[in-house]
């Protein structure tokens, strides 16, 4: 077995360390909670570039995921979506993920729905990337949370053929 002594390895595959940012500090008063949002950091151009690339690379893989998903996997994927994603990405108020995507696509890609489950443009690779790498304030999900099997089922669910 080849080993190396651990010093500390950042190991980020998406290197965001040179992104310009501006500092901010905000305090939380529960009475004013709904107002708590403030610009703090320019989103990584490299991350966006990386994700765009992922979308492009993924486009070819989409058709295979769409072909005849089996019922059990679809059901499992829908359950994973409900459990892990819908709490932040469902339609309606109080959903930071949905609000973030609404703001992201507003004016740029007006046809893209903000609620994740309504999207038909998601690719397997982009779903895997966001689940395992996280984005912005969404931390990645461990395999004890979303196992590889669950992630595969989630991909099938989110890329399922729509009527």
């Amino acid at each position: 077995m080849r080993c190396r002594q651990l010093v500390s390895k950042p190991g980020a595959e998406v290197d965001l360390r040179h992104v310009r940012s501006k500092p901010c500090l905000y305090s939380v008063s529960p009475g004013l909670r709904s107002d708590v949002t403030r610009a703090t950091l320019g989103v990584s151009k490299r991350l966006l570039a990386g994700l765009s690339l992922a979308f492009v690379l993924a486009s070819g893989a989409r058709s295979s995921a769409q072909s005849q998903p089996d019922e059990a996997t679809l059901k499992q994927g829908a359950a994973v979506y409900q459990y892990w994603c819908a709490t932040c990405h469902a339609a309606g108020r109080g959903m930071p993920g949905t609000a973030a995507l609404a703001a992201k696509y507003k004016g740029r890609q007006p046809g893209v729905p903000a609620a994740l489950d309504a999207r038909t443009d998601l690719t397997p690779q982009s779903i895997r990337l966001f689940v395992r790498k996280g984005v912005s304030v969404m931390a990645p999900f461990r395999k004890t949370e979303i196992s590889d099997g669950d992630l595969n089922a989630l991909v099938v669910h989110l890329t399922r053929p729509r009527p």
């Binding site: 360390r17 008063s29 909670r33 703090t40 709490t87 930071p96």
Partner: protein, 542 residues
Amino acid sequence: MRIPPGVRERDFAAALREFEAVVGKEWVFTSDEDLDLYRDAYSPLFGEPEERIASGAVAPDRVEQVQAIARVANKYKIPIYPISTGRNLGYGGSAPNYSGSVVLDLKRMNRILDVSERNASCLVEPGVSYFDLCRHIEEKGLKVWVDVPDPGWGSLIGNALDHGGGYTMALYRNHFDAHCGMEVVLANGDLVRTGMGALPGAETWQQFKYGVGPSIDGIFSQSNFGIVTKMGFWLLPEPDAYLSGTVNVPRYGDIVPLVDILTYIENAGVSNGMPMLGSQVLAGGGILGGPPPEPELAALLATPGGPRPEDIDAYGQRKSIPCWNLSLRFYGPAKAIEAQWEHTREKFSSIPGATFQPGPLIKLPLTPEQRERVHKPEFGIPSLEMFSIGARSELNPTPTNGHMWFSPIIPRTGEAVSEASRVFRQASQELGIPIGATVIPTMYWLRAFVLIVALPITRNIETNKKNRAAMSRLIQISAEHGWGEYRTPPAFQDAVMGAYSFNNNALLRLHETIKDALDPNGIISAGRYGIWPKHLRGARRS
């Protein structure tokens, strides 16, 4: 493959094989790809050599496996770091305090062992989240509420052990106080149950906390003395109704009687919900985001040295805006809470110019439509709405990568609110971070205020360094005023614990004595809340 510092390669390899024999190969993680999932995405050290990262992860699904893992870790002196759901974001996430530790990921231990409507209590494992328990209660149609913190995906056990708080009735808001009974795996693999759980055959584990002898549960919170594998909690019987009402007082100086009367109202049991303080004058726009203040107010708030009370009062009078708004909440029978609100109004009427706005009386349970409109945690409904902090939105086009919390305890007086505002306003100028004209305390607990201030986490090392320096200075400034943090991310736990320094750090020395007795090889969560095992102590304490 990563290996823990100070551990021989062949010992680590042997330990991993034994971990695999305990939990199965599938649940031992050693690849960089898998271990990167254990990085704290909100780490203020993200991407720097000092970032605390894991050398492995092992995920048991039952207590016997936790015991076996502790024995293996002891045999090979492998540092391990238990996490429950690993979602303590802003206070450490799923990464260890001590780089190179093997994360003991308890997420798979997610059994809801008991929910008793009759006793209004539950018994759960560490992997059970607030969402899990609330879904279970809803599915079973039980008439009990769980007091939930802001992010609902956290663990009941993890949140309580890190001294988290929630939003419903005072009796349940302090999550550690609301626990009743624990099961703990010690470093040597022994299994202990506290309180009535120590008495075979007792049916009162979730009814009476103490059993007999020293109450020992507290030493397992914010510490590294054992691995908590079960905890009981008291639940809130679903109330009949909910009422909120707001007290407005006109002048800046009114904060002093406002807080004194509030303290009486709460300690006397007149108002049992969580109060929330706001100020349309001092907290509008600015630090809390939202629309910027209008030019006259912006100029007032930008007064060098801070706005003077008389100028604040004159502004409020001209604009007919009261300086402070205190929102109160009541849970109970409709007739009783309406009478409590009436009594509350009478008490606050002693402040000249006080006005009152009654909120609607809501009969419970909520209708599905009401559920979508309310602030969910006040009704025991878990949510992730809190993550709107820093997330992209229409008002925030440039999202953060997370946040870390600065959260000092200050006295529960109006004078302390004014003094903390003055001190942190000055600090914000010194450190170049916008805190604003005043700090608004959060009121989880009956007897003290806590300020909860978020500093952003970015993927820019220089920005993170600057914010870390600001955090360290804020901790120092707080300590100089007798204010100490109630909770802090791992990167600051030595500094915060160091501020609790009475009698040459007697409290930390006591923690170390306990550590050495319970965990002589120092395998569990080295460095958690400043408690280092003997072999790492010298370097860390200096």
